[in-house]
Amino acid sequence: MTGALAGYQSVLNLVLLNCGLALSQFVVLRAGVFSVATPALASIGAYVAGIAALSFGAGAAAGLLAATAAGTLTGLLLSLPLARLRGVFQAIATVALVQIVLSLALYATDLTGGANGLNGIPKLIGTPELLLSVAATVYLLGSLGRSRIGHAFDAIRQDETVAVTLGISAVAHQALAFALSGAIAGLTGGLMAYHNRSVIPEEFGFSMLVTVLAYVVLGGRRSVLGPLAGATILTLLPELARPLADNRLIVHGAVLMLVIAYLPHGIVDTLQIARRRRMTAAARAQPVAKEAANGPA
């Protein structure tokens, strides 16, 4: 009984960590930045937190704060050069960044433990801390989404020309998106280090990049609920059935292809758009109904 419960709890923890990564990816995509730097930023957060605990005996709060700060700073620095680029070029540059961070992590053995990574990190957090941090992130991003910044993000993503002619600085907002993405990824990386009790460099490579992208594509890029739905579904699917777990790549691959072709806004956003569409139809029908009611006078 307790075994089953512990099993559920570890799955829940995994879902929460993946939600964190998905939220980091979501912020940049919402602002129309095609950055896929989340694994690199999370890796930096994980190493900072791990080293803080191992070498400096930092507690959870201090370590996570350092990880978040490191992620934010990296994101901000990254935004300076990258905000000038767009689309495919941003994507390629951030893929390069993921590779650079990965190979530096493997190279700087003294600091990072090289290919062995960091091990023996004390277990500093559990489910409550994970829940708290995901909830806080969602709350902050939700508030942000309803503020003028969120509206500006949406405008830049949909039509940058319109956005700038309305006085929105695309460069400044995308820099903010980079910084936020870095903060969330850094925090999540720190949580991973303290939860898994280790940092494995290869975890933060191209396959994480693809997986995290899949979360957001499946869930949606506009509503903050999108990445949560995407991460939850894709994390749980392999747990539900053994064949799905053995063919995880096929599941992710098929989800990416089918969703982008037939549900391009993702699950959550598609539902919201469908709701609006019904309201539009109702509104357009209304004046006609009125005329009919008045009848020929």
């Binding site: 994507a91 540059a93 390069a96 960044l97 695309a170 096929i250 691959g253």
Partner: protein
Amino acid sequence: MIAQQLLNALVVGSVYALFALGFTLIFGVHHILNLAHGAVFMWGAFVGLYAVTLLHAPFIVALLCASLAAGLLSVALDWVAFRPLRSRGAPEFSAIISSIGAGLILMNIAQRVSQTRVMRYPFGTFPIEVYTIFGLRVTLLQLVIIGSVAIIVAALFAYIFYTGFGRQIRAVAINERTASLLGVSPSRVYFQTFFISGALAGAAGVLIGIAFNSVSFLMGEPYMLRAFVVIVLGGLGSIGGAVIAGLLLGLIQTMTIAYVSTALSDAVLFSLLFLILLVRPTGFFGTLRMERRVTRE
């Protein structure tokens, strides 16, 4: 010693060029960043290996089989992953996501087929002969690699720049709609470019497989990532640029490994990519128009 390194650089670089040519061809003509190109390359290596081990085909036959199979696979990829998006006029983001998905599926199938093993060519598939030319030790294999790449690249240039079909491809590259108004059938052009691109990747896969005598379902990813460096350095979409940049990449990588550090070679390569994107995102050899920020222009 340095001459020997230069020879190695030429061998590695020519295979990079071969791989990147197909990648850049698709981007140049159709503006699709095909991230499944690495998986097509890997399947080329698989087919080549199976042709030798299962059918006992001579090496040259295996090379041709692999090119043909990878070419057809690439065409199938276009039908399944990109054509549904084209008919809806989806943005470039969608094509990238869809190709990532297709790549994952192809990798997973290869993993199942090979049972996650690294496969090797049977002893004696390729005669080990060493010649001494101008004091350089040159193996037959190295000569064959350089020779085949030179022939394939020459044939590709002849096809694209001196035939009617090539003219159609170039017309579509400039403007697909105008080209189709002038009587060019876009679907035939898609068939050709994807076939050529896949065939080049397949040939590269076989050459790499036999050069390192190692074939595995994971082999596509590192080449895919390095191809980013090649196509950005050479100018996205530039065929001539890809050849020069491929050779240059071979040189940089060989020199880094020989004189700096093996562990750092990836960090150097990808830092280079990052820097090029910041300094000159359109590359040094191409003249591609690039999507720009909305500013006064």
